[in-house]
Symmetry: C2
Subunit: 339 residues, 2 copies
């Protein structure tokens, strides 16, 4: 696509980290989608990513329509540098694109003994509570918290009942979705995993009002506002769609997709060793909580992804045949020899 | 109890704001509970609340075992002052007690054209996904975001399917709880609203794994860690219980309850008027989203509480007879004439 070597390497690393961690929907399976956005001139392969507004603890970054995969790490680096100076750093990003796996960006903070946060808005697929209109993306939140001897706490989740990736798996397998994941055109809960193709919508975490969907709707809204209203990106139903064949919304109120990245030095609150030793204690206590019948142990956020990463580092990353064909087509397009 | 006049006035204001906003479980109905904690010497009526650690954008506050109702506004004020200087302020609090309604503290930021955040850990009532042990409180999150002509966006919610206050209403009325709110001693979902009295637990937002309870569990954990591990308060199952008759946990790893307060100047990201005008646009667009059949309009977080406040400012605050009797007993105890 013409990315410089550093950008191409970084984007590859972000995509591969998703595949390694078992988040297949955000790994190389998406590569052809990014290429199509570039072909549609919605992604700029050689962006001039820069800070356009700042205070000692904050900044706004203009991604210059670059790959979110490189814009977000740039912004996270700015957040980390601000945290080094004044304790915390908070960066809102406009004019970006899909940033891949949120956890990658949040985890950049860990090696600096900082807590990292990453969130992003996304194409509107989710209906607010009581609505039949798609107004929000699956707007994920990732929070990475360092420990001492224990592995870090890494939460990374969509603010919907289930991620779009999990829904796509059911669509591919022609299986039904659990109640509470999607609704149909009229706003009734449905088990039809393909309901979005006929005007349905994904549901905010909680599923329905009685089970707290207004909380998932609030969380998704906060992500949208921090990522896009703070920065000047396009928000809510105007967020640019990921599929290049979907026309851009009319009257967009801002530029491109938005992200929000944060870094907090743990020693901005108490000596780092005190914090990380208490995190070890926290993690061990939760891991030893009494399991329900049929379960062996309680998981700490990040455990499943870390276990998957250690397996895939040994055994490699399995790919669907359709993804391999997709990658082969990309290789052919650019005249690259396919392995 | 011997609070100075400023503290007594502030604590009253925080409690009344909950009653005005319709969050009856966090208003004057709790007054006798605070008094019992003071009688048990778990609340210090004359605390020396102070900053014990800080950087330009962060601080840790020691609440000196004071009422959370006065400790949290002190800490929020510190966050606001830091935000005035460096763009954002983040304060973790230890050695505090129940802080009342989270939204009050977050909303303190609004008059400064800042985004406010407030969270707290709480007595362990919630079982992590796959567990039968109570490890977390209902750990609420409040986020207040200023707009221009529209009223502010104010989200304020427990990270459980339903708040403990809503569960208590069902207990009082002897009604069943919806599935997904609580589980029994063995970890099975139950509609018995009193399941906690026989070893059950509340459930994280999502309800079960298939509906994303691991996300609610992660959110509650993040609140616990930001509030208590960052500050040196007592976390997880060691959080001090609100009922004074429940013995304090053994081997507490920190001091008292913890909170986390944050303030971000909106003009630390873009000119304030640009931000608030885009928030107006955000709010209007969401309010006009297409409603499902049977619903008139889409709510913005904070709408129901604001509408309730405007009714109760006119018509007064209705109280259960049991709450009136409770208040009368408190008045008698202190020799205050009851109205």
């Amino acid at each position: 696509m013409g990315c410089n070597k550093a950008h191409a390497t970084l984007a590859t690393e972000v995509l591969l980290s998703a595949d390694l961690r078992g988040v297949d929907s955000h790994g190389v399976a998406r590569l052809s989608g990014y290429v199509r956005l570039w072909e549609a001139k919605r992604i700029n392969a050689n962006p001039n990513i820069k800070v356009i507004y700042e205070t000692p603890s904050t900044a706004v970054v203009d991604g210059d329509a670059g790959l979110g995969l490189v814009v977000a790490p740039f912004a996270m680096q700015v957040a980390i540098e601000k945290a080094q100076k004044v304790g915390t750093g908070w960066v809102s990003v406009k004019n970006s694109n899909h940033f891949g796996i949120a956890g990658y960006h949040a985890m950049m903070a860990l090696e600096h003994e900082m807590i990292g946060m990453a969130m992003t808005n996304a194409s509107a697929l989710v209906a607010p509570t009581f609505s039949v209109e798609r107004m929000l993306g699956t707007n994920p939140i990732a929070v990475a918290i360092p420990a001492n001897n224990e592995p870090a706490f890494v939460a990374d989740f969509a603010t919907t009942t289930a991620s779009n990736g999990k829904l796509e798996i059911l669509q591919r397998k022609n299986q039904e979705a659990p109640a509470g994941w999607v609704q149909d055109l009229e706003g009734n809960s449905t088990t039809n995993a393909n309901a979005l193709k006929s005007g349905g919508a994904m549901l905010p975490l909680g599923g329905d009002r009685e089970h707290g969907s207004h909380k998932g709707y609030a969380l998704g809204s906060i992500v949208d506002i921090f990522s896009a209203v703070l920065s000047g990106a396009s928000y809510g139903p105007w967020a640019p769609p990921f599929p290049a064949y979907v026309p851009m919304p009319e009257n967009m109120p801002g530029e491109g997709l938005g992200h929000f990245l944060g870094a907090m030095r743990v020693d901005a609150f108490r000596p780092a060793s005190e914090f990380t030793e208490n995190m070890d204690n926290w993690i061990r206590r939760f891991r030893s909580a009494k399991p329900a019948d049929g379960y062996e142990k309680i998981l700490i956020p990040g455990d499943p992804e870390r276990e998957m990463e250690s397996i895939r580092q040994q055994e490699g990353i399995p790919l669907f045949v359709s993804v391999v064909e997709d990658l082969r087509a990309v290789a052919d397009k650019f005249g690259i020899r396919f392995m």
